[in-house]
Every structure is written in structure tokens, then in C-alpha cells.
Amino acid sequence: MFRVIVGALLAAVAFCANAQVYGPPITLEQARKVMAAAEAEARKNNFNMGVAIVDAGGHLVLFQRMDGTQFVSENVAREKAWSAAAYKRPGKAFMDRLAKGGEDLLILQLHGVVSADGGEPIIVDGKLIGAIGVSGSSAANDGVVARAGAAALK
């Protein structure tokens, strides 16, 4: 039984394995640009948010929590960023697959996955150099802000 589950899990990962390669870790200067773009998008919409930017290894590089943001947004934003870096894909990709149900529900068993919108890989010159995670509003709003941040380096 265990083998069947593990096999199915591996199949689930392999099925969606991402060819994206990791690049050099994001620099602080690059991270500041991503943060500025994300903050601008959040302010435009009057969102209070926690925003985390991690390097290609999923380790924190830059974080800020706007005034009045719930404190748990630290954890959620960091986990969204980690998931996007580790699986080389946005949280929304998992969210959409889960919505289809069936075999893809196995995603819920994958290590550290945050299957919600608001986590985006940061890609420069075709390589993943880090990721951004956003928390504080609805998943869709978090996603808008995360994508605005990631787009700053495109």
C-alpha cells in the first residue's frame, strides 16, 4: 500500500516536473526591486500584506509586513515563496490542478506545498533565481501582488 502511494506521489510530481533550471541566487538589489513593485501594487489596491522574497534555495532574503497586517502573514508568505521556489511553479498551478480533483488530490501530500495563489517564481534570463510569497488578502489578490512583484525583473 505504502509503495502504491509513494509511486503515485512520484508520478504526480514527475507528471508535472518543471524543466525550469535554477540560476544564481537573487541579489538584495534585485529583491528590493521585486519588493517595491509588490508594495506599489498592494498600496494601489489598499491591501495590507506580508511579502517574503526567498533565494533559489528557499531561504529568506527580504521580508516586510505592512502596518496592520495579521502576524500570521509572515508564515504564510514565507511558505508560499518556499513552495514556489522548491516546486519551480506558482501556487496557482497547484490550486488549479487541485480544483480538478481526482488523482491530482495527491498534491496535498507533497512536502511543503502551498496550493494557493500568491506564490510566484522569480525568473531572470530563463533561470529561477528566487521566489516571492504574498499573504494578507484573498488568494486571488495575493496572486495579483505576487505577479506584480515577480514581473519587476522581467
Binding site: 538584495l28 531561504h59 532574503v61 527580504l62 509586513r65 502596518d67 502576524f71
Partner: protein, 135 residues
């Protein structure tokens, strides 16, 4: 009713900017964490070249200071004096480099720094706090 001050994003940016400038003046590379008085992350900066370990250590030093309302260095001193039981205190990293942010006797948060020698880490944290409180 008792009221107390609260760190804003602008306050955190001021602390972080002063701390980064102090590190750069000395060509030091560090991670800097600023937490609120509940021990929750408000602001974080890791300079290029600072390690993932520095990132985690900076947060733990800041948490130690924010929650105990004293420097993490003071906990290190107690351990050095022979109180080895202090190594088992919950949520305490007894290593110099974490400083509480005190306003009129009330702790409103903590700053933790990791990357260079621990007395230098503490100096960076203090410079950051001074930029906020001594102006």
C-alpha cells in the same frame, strides 16, 4: 487604559537602513531581522553573501530579545557564568546580537543581527535602534 507604541513599516525601514549602512561602512555582510513585541517578523534584510544560517540566526536572536525584553547577549553572559540550564529556556538563543527596542520602559520589539562577530552583530543592531529612538 494603558497604551503603548507600535512599530510601523516606516520605523522598520529606518532601523534596517541604519543597520545596513553600519554594516557597509565596515564591509560586513549580515542578515537583519526586526520583530514586533510578540516575536513575529516585521522586517527582514539579508545582504548579498550572508548565509541562509545567518537568516535563521538573526530571527532567533531578535525573538530572544523581543520576548525576554533583554539582550540575547545577557543570556549568553548567564550561560558563560555557569548557568548552563539557560540553554534550555524556551525560545531563547543565548548568543549576542539581539537587542530589544525599549520605549519608556516598554518593549515594542527586537532587532537581531547575524553575520560577523557577535559583539559586532550587536553593535549593528544598536545602531539601527538608535537611528529610530535617538533623533
Amino acid at each position: 487604559m494603558k497604551t503603548r507604541p507600535e512599530l510601523t513599516l516606516a520605523d522598520c525601514e529606518r532601523v534596517a537602513a541604519a543597520a545596513v549602512a553600519q554594516a557597509q561602512r565596515n564591509q560586513w555582510v549580515v542578515a537583519i531581522a526586526i520583530l514586533d513585541d510578540g516575536g513575529h517578523l516585521l522586517h527582514f534584510v539579508r545582504m548579498d553573501g550572508a548565509t541562509p544560517a545567518n537568516a535563521a540566526i538573526a530571527v532567533e536572536k531578535a525573538r530572544t530579545a523581543a520576548l525576554s525584553r533583554r539582550t540575547s547577549g545577557s543570556w549568553e553572559e548567564r550561560v558563560k557564568a555557569g548557568r548552563t540550564s539557560m540553554l534550555k529556556m524556551p525560545g531563547i538563543l543565548p548568543v549576542q546580537g539581539g537587542v530589544p527596542i525599549m520605549v519608556d520602559g516598554t518593549c515594542i520589539g527586537g532587532v537581531g543581527v547575524s553575520g560577523v562577530q557577535s559583539h559586532e552583530d550587536e553593535q549593528i543592531a544598536q545602531v539601527g535602534i538608535d537611528a529610530l529612538l535617538k533623533r
